[in-house]
Structures are given as C-alpha cells and as structure tokens.
Subunit: 110 residues, 2 copies
C-alpha cells in the first residue's frame, strides 16, 4: 500500500536542459541581435531578421512574457515607436543557452 501508483515510465525526466524560449530560431535571431545592440526598435529588427510583422510581434510578446525583453512604446512625432531591450535575465538566459549548446556541439568528434 502506501501508494499504489501505477507509475508509468514518465518519471524519467528527459536529459534536455534547453531553454525553448531561446531555442526557437526566430527568437534566437531576435535575442542575438538585441544582445549586441543592447536595444533596437521594431522596424530595425523587422529588416534585420526578415520575419513578418505578425511573427516578430508575437515572438517579442513571448520574450516579454518570459521576462527576457522589455517593450517600450512611445510616440515620436505622432508616430508610434516600439523600442526593445534585452533584460538581464535575457542576457543570462542567452549565455546559458550558449554554454549548453557549445559544450554539446564541441564535444562531438569532428
């Protein structure tokens, strides 16, 4: 007794320690751009990444929700303007992602 859990195999936790928020290609692109620039506006990212507007918008929202970017909206001469900044959490997440990937890839025999 105690527990008659019919334990499935699902308590094997998969050996992946990868931040999916960062891992997604479109977001990796965004985040690496922001990492070197420190901040950029929507239209700049749009042209640099080649994403569509809808796509860029939703990925930015997801990064914001994750706490990785801050979105600042203001009006410049009556025209809306959106500035994106990588947060510290975002920088750290990217660096951790990088370490993980580099280690995994570097140790493959060439």
């Amino acid at each position: 007794m105690g527990s008659n859990l019919e334990k499935n195999q699902s308590d094997k936790e998969p050996k992946i320690e990868l931040d999916r928020v960062i891992h997604e290609p479109a977001r990796l692109l965004i985040v690496t751009h922001l990492y070197v620039l420190d901040s950029a506006d929507f239209l700049f990212l749009l042209s640099q990444t080649g994403l569509t507007k809808g796509n860029l918008s939703s990925h930015l929202s997801k990064l914001e929700t994750a706490g990785y970017v801050e979105i600042h909206k203001e009006f410049i001469e009556k025209i809306p303007h959106t500035m994106l900044t990588l947060t510290n959490a975002g920088r750290e997440a990217l660096m951790q992602y990088r370490s993980y990937m580099q280690e995994m890839l570097n140790k493959l025999p060439s």
Copy 2:
C-alpha cells in the same frame, strides 16, 4: 499590369538557415548519440535520452523520413529488436547544423 500581385511583406525570406529536423532538442539528443556510437538499439537510446517510448519512436520515424537514420528490425531470440544507424545524410546534416550554430554563438561577444 503584367502582374498586379498585391505583394505582401512575405517575400522577405527570414534569415534562418536551420534544419528543424535536427534542431528539435529530443532529436538533437538522439542524433548526437548516434553520431558517436555509429549505431545503437532502441532500448539503449531510451535510457540514454530519458525520452518516453512513444516519443522516441515518433522522433525516430521522423528522422527516418528525413533520411537521417536507418531503422533495422530483427528478432533476437524471439524478441523484437530495433537497431538505429545514422546515415551519411544524417552525419552531414548534423555537421552542417553544428557549423551554423557554432558560428552564430561564437561570434557573440562574451
């Protein structure tokens, strides 16, 4: 005239050159294991990756469809046995993926 295509912005091709078959974490795990081992059986991969059986099975099918692994089934002492091998295409895909990722990540300032 000629064409009055109301061209959207969608002819901007996104600047991502990443093989999604390889990029998926679970499959990256599988493929890197096969890369060093050259071949392995289903149960070995199961324990090494920590994936569930269903998951492992479907990822392997996807890798097979992509032409990256070969799946050989045989009976050993009346018990089914599945051997997985990385194809040349699989090796090359992984190496190309690695180059792309390493370049992208290495050029980030530390």
